[in-house]
């Protein structure tokens, strides 16, 4: 099973998803991220999904859940680099990811985190 690496940069955890997401790898990512947040006390999480071309309702829900979990550790989640097709799919599925902030790219996401910190 592929694992998604979590990079710590300052007080921010950076996750770049470069693989086709499977259900297990998303669950694994959620667990790893929770561990990492508890260990490092990071204040922000950036999840880069530029390379993700396909999402389903489960993955959409897991992304929203990651946002909720991060908030319990007082960290803000920013989802960056979503493709138009993915955004349309998520909207059609009725998942608007209300609890997660979004940005066009990683740079803007970082700015968003620093601005709100």
């Amino acid at each position: 099973m592929d694992r998604v690496p979590i990079l710590k940069i300052g007080t921010t955890l950076f996750v770049s998803i470069q693989i086709d997401l499977q259900d297990e790898s998303v669950v694994r990512l959620q667990e790893d991220l929770a561990d990492e947040l508890a260990a490092t006390g990071a204040r922000g999480v950036i999840i880069d999904i530029t390379a993700v071309e396909i999402v389903d309702s489960f993955i959409g829900r897991m992304l929203a859940m990651i946002g909720s979990i991060s908030r319990l550790f007082d960290a803000e989640t920013v989802l960056v680099g979503m493709r138009p097709a993915v955004a349309i799919t998520l909207t059609e599925l009725g998942l608007s990811l209300r609890g997660v902030r979004t940005a066009l790219n990683a740079e803007k996401g970082l700015k968003l985190l620093n601005g709100s910190a």
Partner: protein, 276 residues
């Protein structure tokens, strides 16, 4: 009674009385068109048509039937394009029956001949109607295709601000198109504000609002903020009475206000004329 021979006899009779019948036919058609075509013009069209009808009925000419169909198709197609009603178009053919009947009222011995003739005119009338309807359908299809192309420009208003002026009713097909174009432009330009201007949307009901919300929700997933502008007083009243709410999405009266809002959010200072 042999149908072919009665048709041929009728054709001969009609050929002998061409001037009189076409004259009366022209009168009837011109009256029904109420001055939209000149008598001379109608006369020329009907003269051609009449000769073709006679040739087709006499049965001697193989090509006449095909030619007659082509001429009628052309004629009713142009009537449809020029905005004549279906009634006026069909009457153009059926009036020939009246014209012939008036002439034949005292010739009681030609009844079977007239019946054959009548059946043929009915067929021609139906053909006219069919081509009229298909010409109209083609016009409608062309127009809706043109409208779909016209209706979805996405333009850059300022650095980081794009605008989508929506014109016409929003249905699912158009929403899909607008959404795709908007999202693609957001990614291509790196804009973080999108203004949806609904000045040109005649009514906003729950369905249209749903479509707008969907578009804005998709734009938000890309990290862009949407602003709705151009809400007219009437539209605002309808939306409130229907209980439509845009939640935390900013709504502005005009495109200018929306642009000012977006620039302010981007950290630029705006001095609006007339505002403190």
């Amino acid at each position: 009674m042999d149908v072919d021979s009665s048709q041929a006899r009728m054709a001969a009779y009609m050929r002998d009385h061409q001037d009189k019948v076409v004259g009366r036919w022209t009168e009837l058609v011109v009256a029904s068109l109420r001055g939209r075509s000149s008598a001379a013009e109608v006369r020329r069209e009907l003269d051609d048509l009449y000769s073709l009808v006679v040739r087709a009925m006499s049965g001697a000419d193989e090509q006449a039937a095909g030619e007659l169909t082509a001429v009628l198709t052309e004629l009713s197609g142009s009537r449809a394009r020029n905005g004549f009603t279906p009634r006026e178009t069909a009457l153009g053919v059926f009036a020939l029956k009246d014209a012939v009947y008036e002439l034949m009222a005292d010739a009681a011995d030609l009844v079977p001949e007239f019946l054959a003739f009548s059946r043929m005119i009915d067929d021609l009338g139906l053909l006219t109607f069919e081509t009229y309807a298909s010409a109209r359908e083609r016009i409608i299809a062309d127009q809706s295709a043109a409208m779909l192309e016209l209706s979805t420009p996405v333009m850059r208003l300022w650095e980081g601000v794009i605008a989508v002026p929506l014109v016409g009713t929003l249905d699912s097909a158009r929403t899909q198109l607008v959404m795709e174009k908007l999202l693609e432009t957001l990614v291509a330009t790196g804009a973080d504000h999108a203004v949806l201007d609904i000045t040109g949307v005649p009514t906003v009901d729950t369905e249209v609002a749903q479509h707008l919300l969907k578009t804005m929700s998709a734009a938000r997933l890309l990290g862009a903020e949407c602003i709705v502008s151009g809400i007219r007083p009437q539209v605002a009243q309808t939306m409130v009475s229907l209980g439509i709410e845009f939640g935390d999405i900013a709504t502005k009266a005009t495109l200018a206000d929306a642009l000012a809002h977006a620039l302010k959010r981007n950290g630029q200072r705006i001095d609006m004329p007339g505002s403190a």
